[in-house]
């Protein structure tokens, strides 16, 4: 008997050690990649003592474990208080229309289930079925918040206790918010949004947050200027080093401009690139200089880091960050903001902020990819595609494609400069998430990395391996173009876990690196398969 099949909705409230456990034998097999998955590393006793580790083998949201009946009741009451606020227009004008329609009209037909990569990767573990989480939330809403007549009888009973709340909160972090489930819904319901709204209750009402997203994420960005903790002095120093290093390495002199008033473009990078992938920063500087673009970076608070983790869990933090980004652009008097290679930053500032920023801060905002496409196609920079003559595939960041519709520009570029380009299937707006979506890529506590490899990123890895099915093995160098910092973080860790550089000569990186690698004015070898 398989344990995963025993989970029912009412199990969420039961006094059991954990709700479920994804067994190795249930995991979706990876194509021709013979790996022996390790058993889950047990969570420490200290962790279990402090936090409600009662969902599965991982803990992402550290919910303090109640020690007394009063604390248990307080947890439930705080949650209900937040849930009530979630359904008021004053506190949740941002999403109440979408949330209410999803609550009221989902037919619970399961059409969305197979769209979820985690549901598929775990061998259809019930907890990962998109409507499992939503149905629990819906029953609480109908019974305790909306208080519909005979709600428990009409929609199904559910015991609301501290375990229900704690598991629901943790379960909100078993979703990448990729919204592939929403894309398939015949009615238009959005079960991924429900996960995000649960996260909001915990953050905005209960003050319970994921440290990487909040204390070390959006709050650090508001305090220091970046979730990397780089202050403006440090970030300018670091970029100066990058300029020096890559000027020497490429033979192409660059000096990244800072705080240039009246420049055409304010470029905002994900600051994580500066520390983890400096070649991405250098590549932008090289391309923009070669193309004669008038541009600048800003050293204002938060304006040198495009991340906006509020998108994943908190509307207030989202708005604060978006406003700081827009204020920096306004101060410099630039014509527009261009977002670097970061998917969630794209969606946050270009799309979501569109109905948040007041008129005086409504600076035009666009993706870097159309601009890069125009540069590449214009002939302003000389390119030699033979330098990129290795198999290349594109990973589509969900925020950029399914949620923004930016599909073609990056493809037009790789089709021009990468002779061996091939698509993953499916791709474009129907892509699969990398598994790091909604912030997991920056999390490495307890067993989170194991979960990212085994569950969240498994489908993407399958797609990547299938895209290179004609050239598997260590003899052929291969490149996954993943133009998003978060996605790169996930691929980096996953490739390392499965030793894909050694076994497959497989690397990942962004789009601008491929462009610079093909530039004839730059020394060959910008893209590297190992440290040289």
């Amino acid at each position: 008997m398989n344990a995963k099949k025993k989970i029912s909705i009412n199990d969420i409230s039961k006094d059991t050690e954990k709700l479920t456990s994804v067994k190795n034998e249930d995991l979706m097999p990876l194509p021709s990649l013979f790996v022996q998955e390790e058993e889950w590393t047990p969570l420490s006793d200290d962790l279990k003592e402090k936090y409600a580790c009662i969902l599965d083998d991982t803990i992402i949201l550290p919910i303090p474990r109640p020690k007394t009946v009063q604390e248990e009741e307080a947890l439930v009451n705080q949650f209900l208080s937040g849930m009530r606020k979630l359904f008021t227009k004053e506190n949740n004008w941002t999403f109440i229309q979408i949330l209410e329609t999803t609550m009221n009209h989902c037919a619970r037909c399961n059409t969305c289930s197979d769209a979820c990569h985690m549901f598929e990767s775990t061998g259809k573990n019930e907890m990962y079925r998109p409507i499992y989480r939503s149905e629990i939330f819906r029953r609480i809403y109908k019974t305790y918040v909306k208080k519909e007549p005979f709600a428990m009888w009409r929609y199904g009973d559910l015991e609301l206790n501290w375990r229900t709340v704690a598991r629901l909160g943790e379960m909100a972090y078993r979703c990448n918010l990729c919204r592939r489930c929403a894309q398939t819904c015949p009615i238009g319901a959005d079960n991924a949004l429900v996960a995000r709204e649960i996260r909001k209750i915990f953050s905005q009402e209960m003050g319970i947050t994921v440290p990487e997203l909040h204390a070390k994420g959006s709050m650090l960005q508001l305090e220091k200027g970046s979730s990397t903790a780089m202050t403006k002095l440090v970030v300018k120093d670091n970029v100066e080093f990058i300029d020096e290093d890559f000027s020497e390495e490429t033979g192409f002199e660059i000096e990244t401009p800072w705080d240039v008033e009246g420049a055409d473009i304010l470029l905002i990078h994900n600051a994580g690139e500066i520390l983890a992938w400096p070649e991405n920063i250098a590549a932008f500087s090289i391309i923009f200089k070669a193309a004669g673009i008038s541009w600048t970076l800003s050293s204002d608070l938060a304006a040198y880091d495009s991340i906006n983790y509020g998108v994943f869990y908190d509307d207030v933090q989202f708005a604060r960050t978006a406003i700081l980004h827009a204020q920096a652009a306004k101060k410099l008097g630039v014509k527009k903001i261009v977002l670097g290679e970061c998917g969630h930053a794209h969606k946050a500032l270009t799309v979501i902020a569109d109905r948040v920023l007041p008129e005086e801060l409504n600076v035009p905002r666009e993706s870097c990819f159309p601009l890069l496409r125009d540069i590449v196609m214009s002939g302003k920079i000389k390119l030699d595609p033979s330098r990129n003559n290795f198999p290349v595939t594109i990973h589509d960041p969900c925020n950029l494609t399914r949620l923004m519709g930016i599909i073609k520009p990056q493809r037009e570029i790789v089709q021009k400069i990468c002779p061996q380009f091939r698509e993953m299937h499916p791709h474009g707006p129907h892509n699969y998430c990398c598994g790091g979506g909604s912030g997991y890529a920056i999390m490495s506590r307890n067993t989170i990395p194991e979960w990212r490899y085994k569950v969240a990123g498994r489908k993407k890895l399958e797609q990547i391996l299938n895209a290179f099915s004609d050239c598997r093995g260590p003899d052929q160098k291969k490149y996954v173009c993943a133009p998003c910092s978060n996605c790169k973080g996930q691929l980096r860790d996953m490739f390392e876990q499965y030793e894909l550089l050694d076994k497959e000569q497989l690397i990942y990186n962004g789009l601008v690196e491929l462009i610079v690698n093909a530039m004839v004015d730059v020394e060959p070898g910008f893209v590297k398969w190992e440290e040289e």
Binding site: T94, Q97, G188, M206, R355
Partner: protein, 308 residues
């Protein structure tokens, strides 16, 4: 008894209209949500074919947007009339749910044709005029609609009761909805086969309703059928089945809601309004700083450092 059925008819129609209007107004009066579109967006013209958007252009805000109604129709028609999303993503469910939905569509078409007959009768049209041509089609739509609705509702009921994946997520509301449809269409089938094969009783009943002529109901089974039909009419918009009209908003306003805020007074006015809404979230990074509106909270930095 007959007059009660007539009164039930008026009540059902009024309840239906009020429930539909209530749901629509309830949606519209809520503040405009932030943009949360999902691609492909059907009205994006040629770009819709691969899921692209106007955001693929440099300086997109300076360019005219192509907004294709044809593109929307190309998606809406297969979705509405053939349940394309279920066909693509949940094939095992498609035949049962399509039988049910097609049955309902045919019944709607039947009612439309029945109303033509009714008005033809009201204006004194003879049997040789329009009615002659409309009636056979009407009878076909009515009969086929009732049969398909019956098959579909029983089939869906069976699936929800027996298939574990559906059963786990089905509540009494599902069973009641489907059982009500099954019961109403069963009685409708009996009525059609044995009592009113040409739907003349139905036509006369509606003529009587319109003219407030509460003539006795000629047959008890027919009367029962009308009672059940009126219960269904009043009940549908109060359930999740109200998606039949709310789907318009779910698709056009949410999934395809990509209207940018470029010289958009409506959006700007809305932003001005919502930013002045009070905020009462309790978490410490939001509350306790004396900031009460969204504008104040969003422009306040709780961890701001003094400029060095």
């Amino acid at each position: 008894m007959s007059i009660i059925i007539y009164l039930l008819g008026y009540t059902a129609i009024i309840v239906f209209l009020i429930a539909v209007i209530f749901r629509v107004i309830n949606y519209i009066k809520l503040p405009m949500h932030v943009r949360w579109e999902l691609y492909p967006v059907a009205h994006e013209g040629k770009r819709a074919s691969y899921g692209g958007s106007y955001l693929e252009d440099v300086d997109w805000w300076k360019k005219d947007r192509e907004k294709s109604i044809i593109g929307e129709l190309k998606v809406m028609i297969p979705e509405i009339f053939f349940l394309k999303a279920v066909w693509e993503h949940n094939r095992p469910l498609w035949l049962s749910t399509y039988s049910f939905h097609l049955g309902l569509y045919l019944i709607c078409a039947f009612l439309g044709l029945l109303m033509i007959n009714v008005f033809a009768q009201l204006i004194g049209c003879s049997e040789n005029c329009l009615i002659t041509y409309v009636s056979p089609i009407m009878r076909f739509f009515g009969g086929a609609g009732i049969i398909l609705c019956l098959i579909g509702s029983i089939w869906l009921l069976r699936k929800r009761l027996l298939e574990p994946e559906l059963k786990e997520y089905s509540g009494p509301d599902h069973y009641i909805n489907l059982a009500l449809f099954a019961l109403a269409s069963s009685i409708a089938l009996i009525t059609w086969l044995f009592v009113d094969p040409s739907f003349t009783m139905a036509r006369d009943f509606i003529v009587n309703m319109i003219t407030f002529n509460f003539s006795p109901i000629p047959n008890n089974i027919f009367g029962l059928q009308m009672i059940l039909a009126f219960i269904v009419i009043a009940y549908i918009p109060m359930t999740h089945m109200s998606h039949f009209f709310m789907k318009y908003f779910l698709y056009h306003d949410i999934r395809w809601g990509d209207e940018p805020n470029v010289d958009n007074m409506k959006t700007q006015n809305n932003i001005g309004k919502v930013l002045n809404y009070p905020v009462s979230w309790s978490a410490s990074h939001i509350a306790g700083h004396g900031k009460t509106t969204w504008a104040e909270v969003a422009t306040f930095n709780p961890v701001a450092q003094p400029e060095s």
